[in-house]
Symmetry: C2
Subunit: 382 residues, 2 copies
């Protein structure tokens, strides 16, 4: 069957749908915002893992870009991307693959937050006669890895890198804690905390004689709500390209901005219980329950008609591997929508990164048209 | 690099490890048990999604087998499997693919629980001049799809099928509710409820003149603990092949039976917080938190050394996409194990089906040997 022949009624379900018009709008929105601040935009490609999406996200075919795995770096390098930040602290066992990419002409920068990592990177730089550029990870909200902005270890790490043959390109921070802080005021505060922490760390390094040209910050909520980016040179963000129910729940987007959905078919009913069964379970939606900690819990996803309009309070309340149970959210008033055997729905995901990862391709649609305009492959693995 | 050269120290991380010795023991255990009952064993291949594992699971190279998607049916059919139950209620839009498989000589049986589905299957049977065999799904614990054992609709569905050109091969039940009922007594009761419900439904169909030769039941907990299988002709089970922390938490297996683990590398520390960061996050572990509802919550996984021995109370307490946070479980006494940068660990998963699905292959190991003996590809998608 050719791509042209497929549409929302003929696609095999479950299938991952990407509304290109919404995606384009999302990209334009963040690009325009960041352009106003005069900072570099370095989109995170871990959400999409797709060359077609990456090309639309990046400012040039060569980058800049951010990745979360060396597999992503390798795949995007093969597609011509040349300016890549691998934004997860480097494991020594991955240095050979990183060097191989750099030897191919990719400006791959690494991340460290310990003297041990700095030593390993410096050693790799010397071995390969390649000055590996490194960002020092700064932890501005205590949620994951990184040094506190004023940790004196930063200077020790910087010295190990520069004495050892690597280079300290700058600092990076990621306000991952913002995903748990709904509401505009909380996100504005998280963004300012991220910015200030990264800038303080960079200033301390500069005061010690390190040029530290790059100050990289970002997470989708803070990229959209940062009141100031003073001292920041680049912003990273990933999930903004598709958005999802977590981002809508935080107040970063509306439901109409969510570009990703899972097409599913009704396979049965338990009418006494008010359940509609569909052929999309957690394998299609992922097990991500990110909205469980937000004011509105969307179960495993919010159910929409084929034109993308939510059926009021119909959500996926339970999921087995290949079964999803659709029901009205607790406390909601009926009636349950009439969805007969074989009827199709689109289900908005909690977390675009997690739901996307369950699928091998995007079925690209646009607005109200039921036609599949293109199929864009995704990759996975490490 | 050849497969022979790789071992637990040289594999790129994260990687999915499969201990073949444990798997073989798990298979033997359930086969032996079911042989004592004189029932057919129809393993569910949705956990493994791998031809190599399927060959070791099935009683013959041709089956019998159970699948949860038509993609699984197609992949295993291509590998020679000929007796397949597609154990998810059929969507009318999938009938053409099912017929195509049957036209290739695969004895593919379908599942229905509504007159609408029965009509669609009967129609497909007539159109294709192919008597499609059907199992009627019975719901014995209210957890998902299926008719209650004494629902009079069963007779209506059976009549639609047989009058319409399809055949009623039997009934099937799945005690999925057992995954929420820890302890031997609860699981024995769940198994008896599953058996009794399926047998009652079959007897009612037989009393109405339907031969109903197959009475199919199963879920890993009930397959292992059923006190009687009287009236049952076949048993299905899937996750038993690898086991996981949910099954250990239910009391169906011990930690030593878990054949699947994720190999990860240490990438950093937050020593003040007692955190060890590794390069396996939810992308490698899945977002499944199945043990959260059991007496012992294992976070995103239980951490073991390279020989598979748990480090006491070290679990993955939090997960980002490519970062896992290892820490002692709440309330546990230290000390935190010494795991330096680059050290490697094996992390047992909550749910083997979900964790497996995040990976493209099994790295096959055995017992205490660090060598990777083989790489078995997995497939995904629908």
């Amino acid at each position: 069957m050719t791509v042209e022949a497929l549409d929302l009624q003929t696609l095999q379900t479950p299938a991952l749908l990407l509304d290109e018009a919404r995606m384009t709008r999302n990209i334009t929105r963040l690009r325009d915002r960041l352009a106003d601040f005069g900072v570099v935009f370095r989109p995170h490609l871990k959400t999409a893992k797709c060359v077609e999406v990456a090309r639309r996200l990046m400012e040039t075919p060569h980058g800049p870009a951010t990745v979360s795995t060396l597999k992503e770096a390798e795949q995007f390098a093969q597609a011509g991307v040349r300016d890549i930040l691998y934004a997860v602290g480097i494991a020594p066992g991955k240095l050979e693959r990183a060097l191989a990419l750099r030897a191919q002409g990719v400006d791959l920068a690494l991340v460290v937050d310990s003297p041990e990592q700095a030593l390993a990177v410096a050693d790799a730089s010397r071995r390969s006669a390649d000055v590996i550029p490194v960002l020092l990870e700064i932890d501005t909200d205590g949620h994951r890895s990184g040094l506190e902005p004023t940790d004196p270890l930063a200077l020790e790490i910087a010295a190990i890198l520069t004495r050892g043959g690597a280079s300290l390109r700058g600092v990076m921070a990621h306000a991952g804690g913002s995903y748990d802080r709904p509401g505009r005021a909380a996100l504005v505060a998280a963004a300012e905390q991220e910015r200030a922490g990264a800038v303080i760390a960079a200033e301390r390094l500069r005061a010690a004689g390190h040029a530290c040209p790059v100050v990289s910050v970002g997470a989708t909520p803070t990229a959209h709500l940062a009141p100031s980016l003073d001292g920041v040179t680049e912003v990273r963000a990933g999930v903004f390209v598709f958005f999802d129910l977590v981002m809508a729940g935080l107040g970063v987007c509306t439901l109409d901005d969510i570009a990703l959905s899972v097409l599913a078919s009704v396979i049965g009913h338990q009418r006494d219980k008010g359940w509609i069964l569909v052929d999309a379970g957690w394998m299609a939606m992922s097990r991500d329950r990110g909205t469980a900690r937000l004011p509105v819990d969307q179960g495993y996803g919010l159910v929409c008609d084929l034109e993308g309009r939510p059926y009021g309070d119909l959500i996926m309340t339970a999921a087995n591997q290949e079964h999803g149970v659709l029901a009205l959210r607790p406390g909601a008033k009926g009636p349950l929508p009439e969805l007969e055997l074989g009827a199709r729905v689109r289900i908005l995901p909690n977390h675009a990164c997690a739901t996307g990862a369950q699928h091998g391709a995007y079925q690209v649609v646009e607005g109200l048209s039921p036609a599949v305009r293109a199929v864009w492959p995704r990759f996975s693995g490490w």
